[in-house]
Symmetry: C2
Subunit: 431 residues, 2 copies
């Protein structure tokens, strides 16, 4: 076993029985750190295999994004024999195996209890919707936990959901953290355990960690909806004369002074401070008077082009960014993506070539580059042979009884070799 600091989980083997966002993201995050992640799918693929957005061929871009660098096998999970194969995989894998991530407790032979009876040092990582095992998805958890009622334009009459499934993303990363903590414990003591995360708990914990729940318990004034203003300081979006939009944030007194200097508003704001008896060096005062200050600054942006505004802000330490759409990020042959070392070009069967992200975690100066996601059942034979020692005739028998399927024909865009604009063919590279 080579021990490369950039892929510290090399040698760890994880079986993933999952769908949608959180559990697949947790498996992919660990795969990007070097783990061998084998995804188990029912015959024909899991339901999220067809989830939008889709490529013209019908291949899911969403699925392809969340399962990069995994292996995939396709097994009839309704048959006891199929579940036995999966259980054999879960409890196998040697000292660094015996790890499963799942978002389902429903498979009869694949429960924590059943598997632990076969391998006492099993690490079983389970996502549920609610802590009691009840179902929930990101959208319903959003509704239940407060954020949509304070997100969105001040004048909005309805709740505003996030498009971003933030709770799924956070839950996937909590699962990865919990798995690594449990595996560390097993390395040191030999003991396995179950790790559980409920999607709703992730949202409630975050609402508590950020102070929203404390505020609701202790303050008589409910949290207001304040649109794109930043709570507690001075920040908001602005529009330039040529219709571009920017987000501008000042956190420190220095940011604030520099914003005023760049926009020529120092004297006007100073006069306003005197008139109002306010000290705008304090962020709480900038927040209290955010509307009048906002209108002053907005007036400056409205009479400048984006180029002019950019030139003025560039000389400051003020935090700002232009608003960019996904289309902007992909414009001009994906220039912005190509220039970012996070991205590499992937050739995805059923899709073609596009720029996809590697791991946002850079280890020892290196990061995992993206590789293609597997086709349904792409590694069924490889995995059953290499990991369970099945023979050609064993596989033929499993096919005969329908426990596994015949391989799907290769699509025209099939080569799954990762490619990159920056001359790399390997899993990891220094950028």
């Amino acid at each position: 076993m080579r021990h490369d600091p950039a892929v510290p989980l090399r040698g760890m083997r994880i079986i993933e029985i999952s769908s949608y966002v959180a559990t697949p993201l947790s498996g992919m995050t660990l795969a990007q750190l070097g783990a061998d992640v084998i995804r188990i799918e029912p015959l024909g693929g899991a339901p999220d295999r067809t989830r939008r957005p889709l490529a013209d061929s019908g291949t899911s871009l969403y699925w392809s994004g969340l399962n990069k660098g995994k292996r995939a096998i396709e097994v009839d999970l309704r048959s006891a024999q199929g579940r036995r194969l999966v259980a054999d995989l879960i409890v196998g894998g040697g000292r660094r195996g015996g790890i499963v991530i799942s978002n389902s407790e429903r498979q009869p032979d694949l429960t924590y209890e059943a598997l632990r009876a076969r391998r006492p040092d099993l690490i079983h990582v389970l996502l549920t919707g609610r802590r009691d095992g009840g179902t929930a998805v990101d959208y319903t958890v959003q509704a239940a936990t407060g954020f949509p009622l304070v997100t969105g334009p001040e004048e909005a009459a309805r709740p505003v959901n996030h498009l971003l499934p933030a709770w799924d993303v956070a839950a996937g990363l909590y699962l990865a953290t919990g798995l690594l903590a449990a595996e560390r414990h097993r390395l040191l003591t030999g003991e396995g355990q179950q790790v559980r995360v409920a999607l709703e708990d992730v949202a409630l914990a975050t609402a508590g960690n950020l102070g929203y729940l404390a505020e609701a318990q202790l303050s008589s004034a409910p949290r207001e909806r304040i649109g794109n203003y930043v709570h507690g300081t001075f920040g908001r979006d602005f529009t330039t004369a040529d219709g571009e939009r920017l987000m501008v944030v000042t956190l420190t007194p220095r940011h604030w002074r520099e914003l005023l200097a760049a926009t020529g508003l120092t004297d006007a704001v100073s006069a306003l401070a005197s008139a109002l008896g306010a000290d705008f060096m304090a962020e709480s005062e900038r927040y209290r008077h955010r509307k009048v200050l906002g209108e002053l600054v907005a007036g400056w942006f409205q009479t400048r082009t984006f180029a002019q505004a950019e030139a003025a802000l560039r000389t400051t330490r003020v935090l700002w960014s232009k608003y960019r759409s996904f289309t902007d990020l992909a414009a001009d042959g994906a220039r912005l993506l190509r220039e970012n070392p996070l991205m590499a070009q992937v050739r995805q069967p059923g899709v073609g070539r596009y720029w996809a992200p590697g791991s946002p975690v850079v280890m020892a100066g290196e990061q995992s580059l993206p590789t293609a996601s597997p086709r349904v059942g792409e590694h069924t034979d490889d995995v059953l042979r290499a990991e369970l020692g099945l023979s050609t005739s064993d596989l033929a028998n499993l096919r005969k009884t329908g426990v596994i399927q015949y391989p799907t024909p290769t699509t025209p865009t099939s080569p799954t070799t990762p490619t990159s604009g920056n001359e790399v063919g390997n899993h990891v590279t220094t950028r």
Copy 2:
């Protein structure tokens, strides 16, 4: 050293030099799994010590939420002697020490290179705004990476930012994951390393992982803003006759059939399917016709009270939740929080008692309960004595030269013992 599976990181010592959300969350997540996290603060506390929301006393509820269960020391970081103390702490801590998390590279003697020269197996975990070290905060990263332009009401003319700092939260959890992966590598090989995460990379990686960037590169139609409809399937918010709001999601054909049965719309929708030549068992068809289907279902909710709607939905497996505000979550003496085993009551100096979340990661059936956050410099003497072996006269000398301060007087609400409605005084309990 006791090895408890519920706090697998017990014995690990982490020094945290940080502010705002991502890095503090990463430290707290690891503290909740058992690590000893010592937060370093400049004299008077870090700038985020006063960040809103605030308690009436001015104590930050936000800070209190993100630093639970840590120890805190207060040192003059502008003095070389102060930085030397911090460096001594970072490189100390024995075999399980030598770990630092930070969001700043600016302190001259506290860079990765300077610290690694003193302890070659150092693990240095660094958050930056951009990968090149440039600054960015959640709000500017939101603007830069596409989501605000497709979030919010269909008719919104402006970008809609998330109130939730989702990128900070995700980055904090990526940092925790990277730290554990690096520490595992060190356990197995003795080698340390640097782990870096850029806030902007986290957002771009997520936009890529979820398929948005692939879609923008491969599809001619840009992603539309669709309000609270769920992309790709049938889900949206509804209002009842008595003005309550619900989020309802159907992912599977079974969900859809049960929603129609519960709302008495089976025949109407079947007639509509025939008229439109649509097959609503396919989620893509439900998505395509979401508006007309949405209006039919909305009509049902508009003529039912919330109690009637709830009674009808309760018999189904349809995914749904009432929209709740933070105020709703705290209503009735925080009933909803009290009933959730995630929460326990904390007595926070400068704030008082309130219900706060423990760890959303349940390890071996147990979870960390919340404990109070430290006051500025609360553990300065303890840490410098126990970890660096300083004597009473050493501490007096440091006070004389202003490298550390005299302890702040204890506030009236000072006892920091965690309490819980469920009879626990310990760090961890089984619920």
